[in-house]
């Protein structure tokens, strides 16, 4: 396994990272972060060399402490990781969101988020964190600096996906078992509505202009397309009964939605205009891709493969796998951060 010792990690020359979506960037100057839920660490992959350049230890108790969802701060300096354990109802000190300084791999702060936080999102101004609290059917809002819990919201049973609209006004949280999305007014800290989406909604992503949101429905085998101005489903991309969509990422132009097919070990490519599946990538894919991320220039996809402990690297031109890289145990989520000297 390509994992460097912690001492090596600490010596990494990662200076700072900038938010992916806000920059025009050189092709290679980014790092890919992969949370390993069974290894209790985060693998850092170089976009330039496709090599592992570091491992950030979350806990010395792998198999007990469970890092899953991740988000990058807008200034790119911090990666937030939602951490829980494998016992959904046990309230432990592990239930938290941890902020890690990318430059030093050191933990900056730990924010208590009781209730098995599964995924996390950051507001566009970086001031607030939002977490889905799976065990208690709630979502939580937190001050990113002080860690203060600002509010909690009833979401539905088994909250999972969480995303903040690009203008910072709305927060969408999915509820797996209730099959709903909860809409939170991020300024007023109030619940606006709940609406049904596809069966077992997992992940939600907003389009760059904030007009649409996409919600993956794992058991429904589809992606619900939401008109954000109405908070209502306006279309559905049907991928098939056994497509198991989970993680998603949009191309920089927003014309393609890449969907991780979880248990099908496939990546689905959806045309966001026609909502048709234009390609299913299966050959040489790692097993159980749970999440997918797009490089800043849109040329490359990275998938976190939970059952093969690997990342598949996909060329978006040929829509084919060009490499598979060993990472930690049980890759769950994947995010990309851009180095500042890329500008």
């Amino acid at each position: 396994m390509n994992r460097l010792p912690r001492s090596t990690c600490s010596a990494m020359t990662i200076l700072a990272l900038l938010l992916v979506g806000s920059l025009a960037l050189a092709q290679d100057n980014y790092h890919v972060f992969i949370s390993n839920e069974y290894g209790a660490d985060i693998s850092v992959l170089s976009g330039a060399t496709n090599e592992i350049v570091g491992t950030i230890t979350i806990s010395g108790r792998p198999g007990d402490v469970r890092p899953r969802g991740m988000a990058l701060s807008p200034d790119g300096k911090t990666v937030y990781v939602s951490i829980s354990d494998f016992l959904p109802l046990r309230e432990t000190l592990e239930d938290k969101v941890t902020a890690i300084d990318i430059a030093t791999n050191e933990i900056l702060t730990e924010i208590r988020a009781g209730g098995n936080p599964e995924r996390v999102a950051v507001s566009p101004d970086g001031s607030r964190l939002w977490a889905s609290l799976e065990a208690i059917a709630e979502g939580g809002a937190y001050d990113a600096v002080t860690g203060e819990e600002l509010a909690t919201f009833r979401i539905g049973i088994e909250p999972e996906g969480v995303a903040v609209s690009p203008d910072g006004r709305w927060v969408y949280l999915t509820a797996e078992t209730t099959h709903t999305v909860a809409v939170i007014d991020a300024q007023e800290l109030t619940t606006v509505k709940h609406f049904l989406v596809s069966n077992r909604p997992r992940v939600v992503v907003f389009s760059r202009d904030g007009s649409r949101a996409y919600v993956s429905g794992e058991i429904g085998g589809s992606v619900s397309v939401v008109d954000v101005s109405q908070h209502a489903v306006i279309g559905t991309a049907v991928m098939g009964l056994d497509s198991r969509p989970v993680g998603m990422a949009l191309s920089p132009e927003g014309d393609h939605l890449y969907v991780a097919g979880g248990g099908t070990s496939a990546i689905y490519v959806i045309d966001t205009e026609s909502l048709e599946v234009i390609k299913v990538i299966r050959e040489q894919m790692g097993r159980r891709p749970w999440d997918v991320a797009v490089s800043p220039d849109g040329s490359t996809l990275y998938t976190s493969n939970g059952l093969s402990d690997s990342v598949s690297i996909i060329d978006t031109e040929c829509l084919c796998v060009i490499d598979n890289i060993s990472v930690g145990r049980g890759p769950h989520s994947i995010v990309i951060g851009v180095l500042p000297n890329a500008e």
Binding site: T178, K193, H194, R282
Partner: protein, 421 residues
């Protein structure tokens, strides 16, 4: 007496109001077994108590879902000791409470009675407790949907596991009644038609209530059986195992998973009756240690709420309510014919925590689903660690194969079905 487990007033008109296309109250009727007095049959108690607890959990969870969606929902439960009382209660739920669907059917007799009532009143009925193949064939009804796996599904799964593990010489011990005879015939059909290389080496039919299994054990020994399938009531299975252990045979023994024989209480009793022979493989429709597909969270919620592992009957109650609730919310339907059409549609997919979107077979309304294989642990200390989950059939993770065909590997196919709606 009607027990309104939870009745939540509608929230329509509030800021949260939105979405599902159903304005009328969603009322579901659950006909559950009466919980026996202490000292009664332990397995019946386990089944009934788990169902009762699950009804409370279903009321809470779907009450919560209804509240955030601005809907008016109630799960109305009745506990009936016999079929006459059951029908009376069911009629009351329909006429006075306005339920749009029923669930129940703990045993063939109750399921048949509720199926007939549902057909007469034109409302859907979800059978969650009767596995009899006759309900899915000659006695099928368009208004009845079978949440419980069929005899054929359990038996196909059992035969599949044992044959693949190398146990090919089958001996049968069954009660001499039509249902057990039917199970015997279905198993031998499965062996002949789906598992070449395996064969029946003998069988013995015993009068119900038989307590001396010496003749059956000797016959199994004479015929050099490799696996013995007990098509007996749970208590009779235990009695057989106790005598079999003393006889010292080496053949594997398993039994038909009647509801009582899928409970933790039965698994522990089996181990206690015969440490070696009673600690073998069993099939179940749900397993409390299932750790994938969101089942981890579901099982944890039940365990956390009640302190006991989720039995099959609990899972079935909860998931049947879920399916009916989703028919109302996703389909926006409460009228009998419309709900039936929704449930039987090939495009209606349900999530029952088994890791794959499932549907009802159009030819007999049987729910497609996996069956689990568990191994009773000799060293078990209590209900929580009573078994080890060792298998799933059909295996659902088989990318690039058709999921419906995958699930239809067990049970009666359309060609074999005698159901005509």
């Amino acid at each position: 007496m009607v027990s309104v487990v939870l009745l939540l007033a509608g929230f329509a008109g509030t800021a949260l109001g939105q979405t599902p296309g159903v304005d009328l109250p969603i009322r579901i009727g659950a006909l559950l077994p009466a919980v026996p007095e202490s000292g009664g049959a332990p397995f019946d108690f386990a089944v009934a108590e788990a169902a009762r607890l699950a009804a409370g959990m279903a009321a809470d969870e779907f009450g919560f879902n209804s509240e955030i969606l601005g809907l008016d929902f109630a799960l109305l439960t009745e506990h009936a000791a016999d079929t006459e009382a059951l029908l009376e209660a069911a009629g009351r739920l329909i006429d006075e409470e306005g339920v749009f669907a029923l669930l129940g059917g703990f045993g063939t007799e109750q399921a048949l009675a509720l199926s007939a009532l549902a057909e007469e009143r034109q409302i859907p009925f979800l059978n969650i407790g009767a596995s009899s193949d006759s309900l899915r064939n000659e006695a099928c009804s368009r208004f009845t949907f079978h949440f419980a796996p069929s005899d054929a599904m359990y038996l196909d799964a059992l035969v599949g596991w044992f044959v693949r593990a190398g146990f090919r010489r089958w001996f049968f011990v069954h009660e001499d009644d039509p249902e057990r005879e039917s199970q015997y015939r279905r198993t031998t059909w499965s062996i002949r038609n789906r598992h070449f290389g395996a064969r029946e080496v003998g069988r013995i039919a015993l009068a119900p209530g038989t307590s001396d299994f010496g003749r059956a054990i000797n016959a199994a020994r004479r015929n050099d059986a490799e696996v013995i399938l007990l098509l007996l009531e749970p208590e009779a299975q235990l009695a057989f195992l106790e005598q079999y252990e003393t006889a010292g045979l080496e053949a594997q023994v398993t039994g038909f998973p009647d509801l009582g024989a899928q409970t933790r209480a039965f698994f522990l009793a089996s181990r206690d009756a015969a440490l070696k022979a009673g600690s073998g493989f069993r099939s179940t429709a749900w397993e409390a240690t299932l750790d994938a597909y969101g089942a981890r969270e579901l099982n944890a919620r039940f365990l956390g709420s009640f302190g006991s592992p989720m039995e099959y009957s609990a899972w079935a109650v909860l998931q049947a309510v879920k399916v009916l609730f989703e028919a109302a919310t996703f389909g926006g339907l409460l009228e009998g014919e419309e709900v039936v059409a929704y449930l039987e549609s090939s495009t209606s997919v349900f999530d029952v925590y088994k890791g794959i979107g499932i549907s009802f077979r159009p030819w007999d309304h049987q729910l497609r689903q996996s069956i689990y294989l568990v191994d009773i642990r000799p060293e078990a200390e209590g209900p929580r660690d009573a078994v080890l989950l060792v298998g799933e059939l059909p295996a659902i993770y088989m990318p690039r194969t058709d999921p419906v065909e995958r699930l239809d590997q067990i049970g009666d196919t359309e060609r074999e079905s005698k159901c005509r709606f």
